[in-house]
Amino acid sequence: MDLYEHMGKDLFRAQGIATPEGRVCFTPEEAAEATAAFGGRSVVKVQVQAGGRGKGGGVVLVDAPERAADEAARLLRDGFAGHVVDRVLVEEQLPIAREFYTSIVLDRSAGDYLALMTAEGGIDIETLARERPEAIRRVHVDPMLGMRPYHVRTLVGTLPVDARDEATAVVLNLFDLLRERDATLVEVNPLVQLEDGRVLALDAKVTIDDNALVRQPDLAALQDQFPIDPVEKRAKDAGLQYVKLDGEVGIIGNGAGLVMSTLDVVAQAGARAANFLDVGGGASADTMATSLEVILSDPAVRCVFVNIFGGITRCDVVAKGVLEALGRLEASVPIVLRLDGTNAEEGRRIIADAAHPRIVSVATMDAAAAEAARLAGVAA
């Protein structure tokens, strides 16, 4: 779960990491008030679960409360890079002397934590990593031993001498935060030194491990604050992995790998997937029915491709679920059904016996994808 910047900064401050003063604002009026409180100048920062805010006009310096209100109104109205926006963070402007970068991430290749720091922050860090990797200090941290003083000395070694003590505290606090709050990423870009010498986190990117939300109840509760499409919410509540895409063939499958593969095969057949929907393992008839309802509620869908390879999932149960769904709702588009694996023959027999006019049963994945593309009217 990616946190909004202001949520990340709450965690930072609780951990003893200094940030600029700021207020979360839900209306242009609140943004104006906050700016007035900060002496008539502020930074208006859009709050979305995405990066690239600086380049995309999502972070704006303003020099009057009315200007803050204008920018907040624009962001709240237009959204940002396709994201719905319901709040901005309005922060005090500060005299910045230098910009650094630091992050700690769970390194999936090494199975440990990787901490990074560079004195050249505030810029495109990926470009720096490609062009001058030696400018970035990096240390691997053993999860059992934790962040040791020599790790930190290495990391802060390229920073100006008068910034190192405070940067050391920041890195140690970030590591504690990462461990205690089950984060898989904490990133500060930029970490700044002010003209008076103080070191502050000007930004905060924090990703919390979804698997750990059960033991981080206060963070789990934050999920309700993120805007979610009603269809996606319905799917999520039913325990389905659903992502809306912009094609015309609705996809239902079991297992993320098989569903991704189904998207690919449909594309090769000349059509485009309208969604990614993984029913997971052991799907019940009810799960299948909910999945179909979710997909058929998308007006862009011109055909549905149900691709099931039964392992734990039983094809006879899937077949019954599809029929049950079609008893509950009107299917206005054809459904291509491919069942293989556990109890596939029984599943296919159930479908054949029902002889539902909307269901086309196809034996192989490739043939089913071609049929789905044809029925969607986009391929030969």
Binding site: I136, M144, A212
Partner: protein, 290 residues
Amino acid sequence: MSVLVGADTRLLVQGITGAEGTFHTLRDRAYGTNVVAGVTPGKGGRDVEGIPVFDTVAEAVAATGANTSMIFVGPRFAAEAILEAADAGLDLVVCITEGIPARDMAEVHAYLKGSRTVLVGPNCPGVISPGMANVGIIPGEICSPGRVGFVSRSGTLVYQIVHELTTIGIGQSTCVGMGGDPVHGIGFIEALALFEDDPGTDLVILTGEIGGDDEERAAEHIRSAVSKPIVAYIAGFEAPPGKRMGHAGAIVTGSRGTAAAKAEALEAAGVGVARTPSQVALLVAERLGT
């Protein structure tokens, strides 16, 4: 011949008394796997359809000579179950459990570095050596004994592709579902090394998916240390770019983790990369000259 599991496997099941644990234990035993013990704390002394249950892994090993564990313990306690199995000296631990916090797995990963225990998973479908032993939830009836090794990040893709192989008469030596969690046990490289040394394996299939750089690193390994033919499949060419906040991930891997980048890296290492699951079986047949 086979890798990881086979005729010598003496299986104990941690979490045997749960619904999933019982179901798959009995299914694996019916397949022919030598299931010797179960472990559920507090339920020692009972049995599950004749399989004795112990309170601790160490007791179970002492009493039954178990050398392999399969874990169905829930996500909150699964990391500890892995540590207990490693401390009891098991050769292999296959962790099926989904949803283990990454921090717990990072600790397990660090601990296992100094251990003789090999971990497969978590969040994986397990390992099957057709005709010999099934340790996990891969449906045994879709597999057939043979000489093709298989390692995959995705579970259902294993089923799909194994089914296609079996349909055209190509059997498998061992299928390894390594799981898709960020921090996991053996990966492509370790599995490829095992298959390289296995006289019962002539060719290896590797199936990957978007994210991380496991496939890119596997390509490097294949280039330098693998002599057997490799066929690969990558899922996710059409997957939407994931929401990604920080840049740190890309800095770590130096890769954007796309399916295209992975396929390209593997092809550059001489691997035959199929475009659909069905094509995998055909490519395998072609490379084997059958």
